[in-house]
Every structure is written in structure tokens, then in C-alpha cells.
């Protein structure tokens, strides 16, 4: 296994090679990489991969990692059963 085969996004099975190819194609923000590849869209919502993608972007673009724009976290913070949410309504 080479470095390129390392899984960056475990929810969506996105490898380091794929991330590097997308950066080379001109996708230069985490949001764009997420939208084109689904990295960060799985059940964990990018808790691991967005840091790793940010590091790749910082290296490729030659900027400090704190200058890589972080996407917003979208609720809920963990997956929740919709039926559980529905039962929270006073409907019966």
C-alpha cells in the first residue's frame, strides 16, 4: 500500500490520491472537495477527514493551515432517528 491509498474519508471511502487529484484539478476549498467527492458528507460529518483535507490543501497551496477555510458543521451533531424527533411532537 502506498501513501496514496490511505483512506482520508472513512464514511465515503475517499483516498488521499483522490483528494490530491481534486486539488490538482482546481478544487481549492474543503467545501468544493466535499461537494464534488462527498468527502465529509457521511454520518461522521467530516470530523476526521476535514482536518486531513485542510492539511493537504495547505501543503498544496503553500499556505498556513489556519488560512484554509473551514466549512460550517451542519446539525444534528450525531445522526438521530427521525421517528424519535417526530415523537417529540405532542401529536397524540
Amino acid at each position: 500500500m502506498t501513501d496514496d491509498d490511505i483512506i482520508i474519508c472513512r464514511c465515503e471511502d475517499i483516498t488521499l490520491r483522490q483528494i490530491r487529484e481534486l486539488i490538482a484539478q482546481g478544487y481549492h476549498t474543503i467545501d468544493e472537495i466535499k461537494r464534488v467527492s462527498r468527502a465529509g458528507m457521511g454520518p461522521c460529518q467530516g470530523r476526521t477527514c476535514r482536518q486531513l483535507i485542510a492539511r493537504e490543501l495547505a501543503g498544496a497551496l503553500g499556505v498556513p493551515i489556519e488560512q484554509v477555510e473551514m466549512p460550517t458543521f451542519r446539525p444534528p451533531s450525531r445522526p438521530v432517528l427521525l421517528s424519535t424527533i417526530a415523537r417529540g411532537e405532542a401529536d397524540e
Binding site: T29, D31, E32, R35, V36, R38, M41, G42, P43, Q45, R74, P75, P76, P79, V80, L81, L82, S83, I85, A86, G88, E89, D91
Partner: protein, 384 residues
């Protein structure tokens, strides 16, 4: 910024702006600059429900949607895009819950069939052949069009952008329009935070911000933002083909190819505004309606919810075409929830208008002047 002048400046890097830029270049108009203040598809295009339907209540909407579908069908080849824009014709199932609504649906079907759109009417029981776990209590009837469907809005936007770039269009992201210089009703330049571009022609594809962009040219354009919310579930095996849509419940829900269910519901009393924060009351309302209409889907987990903006116009219909008195200021906005599905044909129409002054489909009813004339377009078949 590499160009300081352009034949056309397209404002907005959503799917509409990218489609317009590509279709202009396709017609030989390649000295085009597209300006996007954030990243491509960062606004409404990247937040939409991604449905594509032809079932509408006005002839013009049916024709526009039908032509958009024909372009979607061949989009990967036309734009030479890999992997794919993921256009799937898995159908739209539209549910009626009152006699009044059912009569409207039947009028729509007659219109759609006259325009070569293949739509069936179904009894409530027949809908179970398509979605076996649909709760049909209270349903009066339904209509179904197999050729409706959905596409991936990110890939569609990127596909247009890449194809446009290959033809010579310059796409500038992270570049915000700050002003439009107009003298004697003629556009002189577009001012951005990264420099000035001299141009005679602007296409305003700024979505919910189109009213603000028009104001920079001294034009009063009634387009504003209206928040709409969506959620998506964990992915599961394919169990539901079509988009299920009920105007009575202000509800739509579809399983996308990835396996997740994407769904939205209207929130009454949403004010004009530009907030894209999601809310917990949406989550609750969505879950309750979902449990009622599609009970097994409520057994899934919600992974993510988000909000985006409709670019609302007063009659919830698009605003297309030139915008007097300013010459060569073109609008392609006001889609009010249908911008993504119409974008392929809107790109064609706008490129035709900009390059030849006329379009292959008569869109004169959708001009910005209709509001002042009191000639609103009334489409009876919309959500939210």
C-alpha cells in the same frame, strides 16, 4: 485578474451562471468573465433539492422544463464531463389531497400531454405499485411522469464551469461585485473587489442576491431571498424510485442514487431575508409529516440538515431577459425554487438573447416589466 475587459460579464457562479457562460462560449462568444463571490455552487445551487420535473400548470413552464430534461438527458456527452452529472429519470409522483387539487392536476395532465410530456393519472391504490409503503389515507389521486427525475447539482454546476473554461471563459471565484457603472442607460463596467472589468453586457444570475446586483445598475428588481430547509438521511438500499411530492403537505422526498433520502417541507411565515441557518422546528415538522406519509423512511437517521435561499419573485416565476431602460442588462433569476431544474434551457435562452437578441422559446411573458404592468404569471403547481 487577467482580463480587464469582456464582451459579457456573468454575475453568479451557480448552475444558472455557469450554464449561461458555457452556452455563450458554445455560440462563439468566448470573451466572457464569470464572477462568483464565494465558490461555485456555494449558494442555492449547492443547497437545492435537485429535482427535475416537467409537471407544471402553465404551458411555458412545461415547455421550459421539457427542453431542460432533453438537455439533461445528454449532458455528460455534451459537456464531456466525467464522472457524471448523475441525471436519473426515476419519475415524480405528485399527490392530490382535495377535489380542487385533483381537478387542477387533471387540467395539468391534459396540458402536459398536449406538449408531448408523458404523464399518467393514478388512483391512490395504483400509487402503491410505485411506492408500496406510501400512506394513501386521504389521497384523492396522483399523477406520475417517469421522465422526471433528479441530477447532482454540484456535478452539473462543475460540468458547465469546466466546459465553459475549456472554451475560453474566465471564471473568477472569491471575487465580489461591488458596483456596475452605467452612463446614459449603457453599461460601462463591472467593479469588483479585485479590479474593474470594462463591458457593455451583464447577465445577472446572482440568485437571491439578484435584486441587490440590479440595484447596483440603478434597476429596481423585485427579487429577494426566502429561506428553505432540507435534510438528508443515512444511506440505505434503494427502496423508492420517484420524487414524492404533496402540495397539500408542502412536502417533497426522494431517495438519491447514493441511497440517502433528501426531503424538504415548507415553513409558513418565512420572512424575506438572507439567513441560511437551519432550525429545529423544521426538523420536527419534517419528521412528523414524513412519519405520516412515508412511515418506513422515518425509521432512518437524519445525518444533516441545512438551509438555502429561494430567489423569490412576486409571482414565484423566473425573470428572464433584458431589463429596460438599461441596455444589455439581462436577468436570469427569480426562479423561486426551480432554478436548478430549468438551468440547462435557461443557459440556452440567455445565450441566444445576448448573442442574437431573440430566443428559440418566447419568454417575453417572463420579463421584469410584468410586475409594473400587473401581468403576473400564475403557476398553480408549486411547493412553498
Amino acid at each position: 485578474m487577467s482580463r480587464n475587459s469582456a464582451d459579457v460579464v456573468v454575475i453568479g457562479g451557480g448552475v444558472v451562471g455557469c450554464a449561461v457562460a458555457f452556452e455563450l462560449a458554445q455560440r462563439g462568444c468566448t470573451n466572457v468573465v464569470l464572477l462568483e463571490r464565494n465558490t461555485l455552487a456555494s449558494g442555492s445551487s449547492g443547497r437545492c433539492g435537485a429535482g427535475v420535473r416537467q409537471q407544471f400548470g402553465t404551458e411555458l413552464n412545461c415547455v421550459l422544463a421539457r427542453e431542460a430534461v432533453r438537455i439533461f438527458e445528454k449532458m455528460d456527452e455534451r459537456l464531456d464531463y466525467q464522472p457524471s452529472v448523475e441525471f436519473r429519470q426515476s419519475g415524480y409522483l405528485m399527490l392530490a389531497y382535495s377535489d380542487h387539487q385533483w381537478e387542477q392536476f387533471q387540467r395539468n395532465v391534459a396540458l402536459e400531454r398536449s406538449l408531448d410530456i408523458d404523464v399518467k393519472t393514478l388512483t391512490p391504490r395504483q400509487t402503491l405499485d410505485i411506492v408500496p409503503f406510501l400512506n394513501i389515507d386521504g389521497m384523492v389521486g396522483a399523477t406520475f411522469c417517469q421522465e422526471d427525475g433528479h441530477a447532482n447539482p454540484f456535478h452539473t454546476t462543475f460540468a458547465y464551469a469546466r466546459a465553459a473554461r475549456r472554451l475560453g471563459v474566465e471564471i473568477l471565484t472569491h471575487t465580489e461585485v461591488c458596483g456596475i457603472e452605467v452612463e446614459n442607460d449603457q453599461i460601462k463596467s463591472v467593479v469588483t473587489d479585485r479590479g474593474v472589468i470594462a463591458t457593455s453586457t451583464v447577465v445577472n444570475c446572482a440568485g437571491a442576491y439578484s435584486g441587490k446586483v440590479a440595484a447596483m445598475a440603478g434597476i429596481d428588481l423585485p427579487v429577494w431571498g426566502e429561506r428553505h430547509q432540507i435534510l438528508i438521511t443515512e444511506p440505505v438500499e434503494p427502496i423508492m424510485g420517484p420524487m414524492v411530492i404533496s402540495f397539500h403537505h408542502d412536502f417533497y422526498c426522494q431517495q438519491v442514487p447514493h441511497g440517502s433520502f433528501i426531503m424538504g417541507i415548507g415553513m409558513p411565515g418565512e420572512p424575506k431575508g438572507y439567513s441560511i441557518h437551519s432550525s429545529v422546528d423544521f426538523l420536527e415538522g419534517m419528521a412528523v409529516t414524513l412519519r405520516q406519509l412515508l412511515p418506513p423512511v422515518a425509521q432512518l437517521r437524519v445525518v444533516r440538515q441545512w438551509a438555502g435561499l429561494y430567489d423569490r419573485s412576486p409571482d414565484a416565476q423566473p425573470i428572464l431577459g433584458e431589463c429596460p431602460p438599461v441596455e444589455r442588462f439581462f436577468n436570469a433569476n427569480g426562479f423561486s425554487g426551480h432554478g436548478f431544474m430549468l438551468s440547462p434551457i435557461v443557459g440556452v435562452i440567455m445565450a441566444e438573447l445576448v448573442t442574437t437578441g431573440r430566443s428559440s422559446i418566447d419568454i417575453s411573458k417572463l420579463d421584469a416589466g410584468r410586475f409594473a404592468r400587473g401581468e403576473l404569471v400564475l403557476e398553480p403547481t408549486v411547493v412553498g
